[in-house]
């Protein structure tokens, strides 16, 4: 089997009642047959190999969770084909459940009132895990994270981070070939995020588990994913490795300029006028070129330059001739700005693909 997950031209439509406004409208709605079709997922195709960690990205409401729910078999696609582990998930949901693990960041599959270890024992019986596999898995867990001290703690008394950690371990417990993680690091602090990323990476490596991860946190993407799939408004925008994406945007570099000695002490208006003056200076000489201007948190003026159009040094020289520059910093474009650029402008991306 070459691929663990195959999606071919998958569509998912929802029928939603057109609601009317006001009290009168509510009564109308009781008898209304006025439905509209919402296309949550539109012609999505992808193939995922065993052992891959795929980052599935997109803005809120892009159709990520819907796709995941179709892959797990909870939702049936309106059109198209989905094969997971060689089976059609929605037709074999219960059987498919044995071969997948899921974590929905906002919900817990653990027994709320019971100590963690009881939840693990229950899952052991529910998934029919053998004593030896169960023991080995716990030994592996204990070597990766400090989970032992959480065993006797009821889930409802756990912090969000501890709960998420436990939920991820629970999803991997029956050693499924595929694990779906829907926003696993949502709402966690920096150190917990790092812990969870390391854990996911280690489990993926140790067990060769395929991981499908949705997230809004670019840190997750940078730390975990070799490949990313981007979706927006139900349509797939990008499916390739991260390096490729960065190299496409690699011609972009950010020039940060400090125009005042202490820009952090400037007021909001003053900062804006500084940025405007930089903008006018750059534009008067390079009117036909594209730039993106913005302010950094510390009050530096940031200019995003496409070096295939104009060299960064040239721009800097020009600025320096016209105004006083206290300090200069160069930055490679981050994954975060790449993704932001993609969301903002899907057209460019089609060229990248």
């Amino acid at each position: 089997m070459e691929y663990v997950i195959e999606l071919k031209n998958v569509d998912k439509e929802f029928k939603v009642l057109n609601r009317h406004e006001g009290l009168k409208g509510s009564f109308q709605d009781l008898f209304s047959r006025d439905y509209k079709i919402i296309k949550a997922v539109n012609n999505v195709s992808m193939n995922i190999k065993p052992g891959e960690i795929v980052g599935y990205l997109g803005p809120n409401g892009a159709g990520k969770s819907t796709t995941i729910k179709m892959m797990t078999g909870v939702l049936q696609p309106t059109r198209g084909e989905i094969v997971v582990n060689g089976k059609i998930p929605y037709k074999n949901r219960t059987a498919n459940a044995q071969n997948i693990g899921v974590v929905f960041g906002q919900r817990s599959q653990l027994w709320w009132s019971l100590p963690l270890i009881e939840s693990f024992k229950l899952l052991k019986d529910i998934y029919g895990i053998s004593d030896k596999d169960y023991k080995d898995m716990l030994t592996l867990y204990e070597s990766l994270v400090d989970i032992k001290e959480l065993y006797s703690k009821p889930v409802r008394q756990m912090s969000l981070g501890q709960r998420t950690l436990s939920d991820i371990l629970a999803a991997f417990l029956h050693n499924p070939p595929i694990v779906f993680l829907d926003e696993p690091t949502i709402g966690l602090d920096v150190s917990m995020k790092a812990k969870i990323r390391n854990l996911i990476k280690a489990l993926n490596k140790e067990k060769n588990t395929t991981v499908i991860l949705t997230t809004h946190d670019m840190g997750d993407v940078d730390a975990l994913c070799e490949r990313i799939v981007i979706i927006d408004k139900g349509t797939m925008l990008y499916d390739n490795d991260i390096e490729h994406l960065r190299s496409f945007f690699g011609a972009y570099r950010t020039l940060l300029i400090k125009t005042k000695k202490r820009p952090e002490e400037l007021s909001e208006e003053e900062r804006k006028s500084e940025l405007e003056s930089v903008e006018t200076i750059v534009k008067e000489d390079f009117a036909d070129k594209d730039f993106t201007f913005s302010l950094s948190d510390e009050g530096w003026c940031s200019v995003l330059i496409d070096e295939s159009q104009v060299r960064l040094m040239k721009v800097l020289n020009h600025i320096q001739e016209k105004m006083k520059v206290y300090d200069v910093r160069l930055e490679e474009i981050s994954t975060e700005s790449v993704i932001r650029k993609i969301y903002e402008d899907a057209e460019n991306l089609k060229k990248a693909n």
Binding site: S65, A97, R107, Q109, S113, L114, D125, Y127
Partner: protein, 268 residues
Amino acid sequence: MRIKAYGALVRASVMDFMQFRLAAFVMLLGNIIYLIVIYNLWRAIYASVDNATINGMSFNDTMIYLVLASAQFTFMEAYLVWEMGRSIQSGKIVLNLLKPISYDKYLLFGIEGGNLCAFVVTFIPTFIIVQIITKGAIHMGVNLLFYLAAALFGMIINFAIDFFVGTICLYTESTWGINIMKEVVVLFLSGATVPLAFFPGTLKKIAMFLPFHAIYNTPLTFLTKGEELGLGESFIMLGEQILWAVVLLIIGKIFWKLSERVITVNGG
């Protein structure tokens, strides 16, 4: 292996029950208040007629029946419709659907343990107290075994009805009204609130024709009329229960299968 999985679900619900010990006491307290109310209500009803018996039931018979019915309610009612409605609304149902056990079995075995505990904690003490106060009004014989079997099937029938009604929540996405309606219909037609003996002729016939009486009336009959029932009659009553249980479970399963498709779990 499957048996082990079901066992795990029963275990989980037993442990869950134990975690909320306080809830069991509150339940008991609520039950006592209910009993005080119906005691006075029926006292007034019997005081208003000249006969010592109404429809062949003395005041004592009626009280014994209603006390046991309310005790049976505490272990049979699992508030499954609420549970299903809540998990549909919150979208938590996804996690239950993604267990390698079909949803109906997941729910059934998930409430079984709690029911079992409630049986031990509330029904058995109530039974003993009734026996002591009435100086052994309940016949102690093979009818007790019949009661246990009948209570089990009654529980399954109750579950099947709840599961069916809970499935309707997939369409309505609201629970309150549906559940209230279900509770009124089931508790009334099953003879949990008023003994079926008090029903007027036609209504009683209709009630005996429906499955609900098999939840409360049938098991309780084994306790209150234990002496009079012959073996043959007892087995016929059990057989009717089994038939209803099977039919309703199948209907519930088919309805669920058809309805699964409408699941549009919250969140995008």
